[in-house]
């Protein structure tokens, strides 16, 4: 089972949630859920922290972060911060393929010794579990959605990704569209006037 199989299992269940993901996970999620509600991040490990910031800024709105094991391990220190300061609306998904797939496929520490679910628990996540297949993954996801409390759902996946069309938006277009999408759906102004004479 690959990441895409797990993503497919929840693609119809995420309502108006905002999503944060990097690399392949972002491309796959956008194929399943086209639109402007997904932010593609570029700094390895930072997706979960960026998602926390979004969740804190919009505490009534669901935010989902799709993390990978390499990124997760790089930002372990972000986990206690998330567990400490979260606003209940963040669902942390981890696809653990036990390797740095995008960087050549060498193994990560989760292939050898590290247990991501235990790491999250140790960091203070009250709800942190493994899902063994897409069905169990969906059921845990729906529970997390209802619970409205920080949850980590992790799944071991095989490396590999489907053939999908390339993403055409660069990070700036992605950022602006993401902000405009929030403005539209939250009925609020985020970016001030572009006309400098109108600025304070």
């Amino acid at each position: 089972m690959q990441r895409y199989d797990f993503l497919k299992a929840i693609a119809q269940d995420t309502g108006d949630a905002l999503a944060v993901a990097a690399g392949g996970a972002a491309r796959e999620w956008l194929a399943l859920r086209p639109g402007d509600g997904t932010l593609r991040t570029r700094t390895l490990g930072l997706a979960s922290s960026i998602a926390l910031g979004i969740a804190l800024g919009l505490p009534h709105r669901k935010v989902i972060v799709f993390d990978g094991d390499g990124a997760f391990l790089m930002n372990l220190c972000g986990l206690p911060t998330i567990a400490w300061h979260h606003s209940g609306n963040l669902i942390h998904i981890l696809f653990d393929n036990e390797c740095y797939e995008a960087s050549g496929g060498t193994e990560t520490a989760t292939a050898a010794v590290a247990d991501a679910v235990a790491l999250a628990k140790g960091a203070g996540y009250k709800y942190s579990c493994w899902a063994k297949d897409p069905e169990e993954f969906r059921s845990e996801f729906l529970k997390a959605w209802k619970r409205n409390d920080l949850s980590l759902i992790a799944a071991k996946v095989d490396p590999g990704r489907p053939k999908l069309p390339p993403i055409l938006q660069d990070e700036l277009e992605n950022k602006y569209r993401f902000i405009r999408y929030i403005e539209e759906t939250e009925k609020k102004t985020i970016l001030g006037p572009a006309d400098h004479s109108m600025r304070r």
Partner: protein, 167 residues
């Protein structure tokens, strides 16, 4: 002025600059400032385990309409360089960096980190201001935040002992 008085002026300056979201990691010299931010119910405060995550948290909060500051020591600034490059600069996200300038002239014990601080900020293209008198604080913070907002980039204000009330 003592540390608490300086902290109050800095915190009020942040608020006048429009800041409403602050992520922090302490140094002994900025602990009064962090306490003052934490006690202010109009500021959303997040305490960090490592400064780099703060760049991410602030970026996310910015996307939802928050105006964000990251308060840390210059060692933490060095920890944050990849995130500043591949998140703040690459996505053009404003961020006010309030950085305690350890190893500044007259500040013993951190000469190495002090010596690389301004060159690193310069290499990142992050505009940097070093107010040395309390009466400069408010205008510097308001101006730096306006610059960050207009340029959609991080702007750094380095805090020396003289504006932190540290002897």
């Amino acid at each position: 002025m003592d540390q608490r008085g300086c902290a109050e002026i800095l915190k009020e300056g942040l608020k006048k600059a429009g800041i409403d979201f602050v992520a922090t990691l302490p140094d002994l010299k900025i602990v009064e400032l962090i306490k003052s931010v934490k006690q202010d119910s109009t500021l959303r405060h997040v305490s960090l385990c490592r400064e780099e995550e703060g760049v991410g948290i602030c970026a996310g909060a910015y996307l939802t309409g928050k105006r964000c500051a990251l308060i840390m020591q210059n060692g933490g600034l060095l920890n944050s360089c990849n995130a500043l490059t591949t998140t703040s600069l690459q996505f053009q996200i404003p961020l006010l960096l309030l950085v305690y300038y350890a190893g500044d002239i007259g500040d013993r014990g951190f000469a190495t980190v002090g010596s690389v601080t301004e060159p690193v900020l310069g290499a990142l293209g992050i505009r940097t201001y070093v107010p040395r008198k309390m009466e400069e604080i408010e205008d510097t913070l308001i101006g730096a935040q306006a610059l960050a907002d207009d340029s959609k980039q991080p702007v750094a204000v380095l805090l020396t002992k003289s504006v932190l009330g540290v002897k």
